[in-house]
Amino acid sequence: MGVWEIAFLSIAYLGILFLLAFWAEKKKAQNKSLINNPLIYALSLAIYCSAWTYYGSVGQITSNGLSFLSVYLGPTLVMILAWGFVRKMVRIAKIHNITNIADFISTRYGKDSRIGLGVTLISLFAGIPYIGLQLKAIAQSFDLITQSTPSATFYQDPSFLLFISLTLFILVLGPRRFDSSEKHEGMIFTIAMESIIKLVAFLAIGIYISYQIYQGWEGTLQLHTISLPSIETNGGYGNWFIQFILCGIAFLFLPRVFHVAVVEIGEEENLKQASWIFPLYMLLINIFVIPLGIAGYALLNSSGLNSDLYVLGLPIHFHSKLLAFIVYLGGFSAASGMVIMETMAISSMISNNLIMPLLLRQKGFFSDNQNQLGSINQNIRRIMIVVIMILGYVHYRETESLVNLVSVGMTSFVIVAQFAPATILGIYWKKASRQGALTGILTGFIISAALLFLPNLGISTDVFRIEGLNPVSNATYWSITFNVLALYAVSITSKQNGKDANQSYLFVDVFEYSKNIENSTIWRGKARLRDLRQALSGFIGKINTEQRLKQIAKANNLSLSETYADPILVTQTEKILAGFVGSTSARLIISAISKEEQIGMSEVILLLQKSRDLQASNAELVKIDAQKNEFLTTVTHEIRSPITSIRSLSEIMVEHEDISQEERKTFLETIIQESDRLSRLVNQVLDLEKLAAGKVNFDMHSVDLGAVIEKAMMNFTAIAQQNQVGIQVDVSQKRTQRQIHGDFEKLVQVIINLLSNAIKNVEPSKGIIQVRLYENATHICIDVEDNGIGIDPKYHDQIFEKFKQVDNPNRKIDSSGLGLSISKKIIEMHQGTIHLESSLGHGAKFILKLPIQKTA
């Protein structure tokens, strides 16, 4: 196909993507987000699959066998765990308004600007060759499909036109002015669409070659006999394992993946489905790699075509123009998607962690430009996008035929993997300190860079070469090991400062503090409200500033008319600013407009604990309220039963004059009994409330418990006889005359309560109740034991609570549900204890223990 034809179609394709993006943004403006769903989220994660996946895997087959699979199995491993791990990162990023990996790590470590800067520069270092790689893939595939040779001067090269269009595309859809959430609805939507296209294109060529041309895998694989699949003979298990792990940990820390996975996620819930959809995507895009690789090698190796281009070479070989174009488009999607997101992410890192802090540290810069910080920030990002694109392009032009796709990708992976220890330990281990993180990242970076690049400069690193490991695995092993060791060793030996400790709590316990963190103000100092307003309006405009401030003030009951701002307002302002310029720069802006006091670590922890305690006491109040409600419901319910029978029986007697004398008598007796029950209930409720409020006067004297039992029995013998229940009293075990100090009548009431309970729990005529009085060195005790149905031990704790009538298999234990709680209260007033020994079917024994009165 012609050069201009393809160039035009490619740019038209970008144009369509742009329209799609525009449409998505419009939908978003109508509050119909297209990207806030699991499928689009999972597809946007497929940004991970760049040109390296699309063209590179097939190129690897003949030289490295199946080792390319580790690149997808590692991330699958991470996605299986995403619901725990990635969700935590998402929650943290949301709370702190974090928009890139450098901000994430530096925010965790006390907003240390050195860490943010380090991570930024390392990402840039790893990202440029990677971007160059994608541009190379675009250019080479362009040259192949148009059958042209690249021009020696870049501006005469038609693929340069694609490069320009791509840059413009990013600039238009990229940096935002008035949106702190850093969500790029349109961009993410196009990324997801590109993911569909690259998958469909790859499956199309795979099916075409394997089934259309060669009628199945067997036919295809017979084209060439190579010692294909064995892992053992293609690098061995050691390399396989290390790369498996490397790809897993590097996956999330690639700037573009971090951006789509953590920053652009709509709701956390999206992760749930993406955890399996994205691995499924990776599986699908890899299914046909083997037949394509073998067919490519068999048919195209002799033509001298770079093995990285077999995927596109195959349809051209078979003169299938349409398929060739589809494949080209798929590759263009894979490469351009990666370039778009990566430049966006890295440009925001550079702006937030390098350039803005440099500018803000300059004297006078802040006060001179206070009103236009927002647009300055936006322009810095635009310039950085252009710079990164040019650097990537230069890299590709200069190193054109040196390396293949996979090795550049792997090198980037080893370098970004250095962020993993500081991040993972940072969100699970509070002691990880800023010094530790900084040392770990730098150590890891220096070791990996040395082992990977020194050999290219002719310096041998063979001393460190572990037998059987390839350069990438070898560098991974040494760098990650020392990274983790340095992080750990320095963290446990160095002290955290207040800010560091504060952030460690907020990160590690993010799910616990989620609610409070929003309002946690670990900031003390003075800032004028006017200055806050001005700083904010530089980014979000005057109207939005007023709106946001009012929202915050309303939510926290603050006034906006004072000269100095409440710390909450300052913290929130800093958070909003962080969404635009990152945590480091936001901190600088806030300190430029305020006088801040240093806060010590112990104070930080105290503050956090306070907010937690407050939450706990709140929960306690809610619980008490619920108990009170339950109490009221139960009281009314208990009152309703006697009222029902009284009313119903009285109505009967009014309306049915013909009832027999006998019936009339029974009914009237029942009415009297039920009335008694009602008044008893009312009295008990009052008693209990008085006891609870401490309003009952106890008439305290020396009391002989034997006399208490005697008095209770006097009231009770008749009832026992009526119910045909036997009562045995044994006071023989109390041999001394020792007494207790107490209220005689109240204690009689307790014994009566216990006896009434016992009577209800035994079967008439078989029931025996035993009352025993005895003593030990310190206490005088009374047992009230029955041989009734017993009480399941699981209810023992509850039965002394108000109205906790256990759902006893036979009858209610406590007629009103209040007797036992009243008894318990009374005994407690005597410094005594009451408890229950019982099991189902074996009767119940209540044991009272009252302290012996000290003889004067």
């Binding site: 299986i80 725990g84 064995s230 892992i231 298990y237 955890s275 399996w276 599986l283």
Partner: protein
């Protein structure tokens, strides 16, 4: 509970696809023209995907 199950899936996934288990699979036999080890990878991979999906979509916490 759910996270523990996912951790188990991850460990089994990693275990099945590495030495020593991989050593027993690593042969040149093929099934229906597809290299056996490749088929093995796809099956284990799909298994992990399906289990993850099921664990995350069941209602229990």
């Amino acid at each position: 509970m759910r996270n523990n199950k996912l951790l188990l899936v991850a460990i089994v996934f990693l275990g099945l696809l590495n030495f020593p288990i991989l050593h027993f699979i690593d042969s040149k036999n093929s099934v229906l023209g597809i290299p056996f080890i490749y088929l093995y990878f796809l099956v284990v991979w799909l298994g992990a995907i399906v289990s993850t999906g099921i664990i995350l979509n069941r209602n229990s916490k």
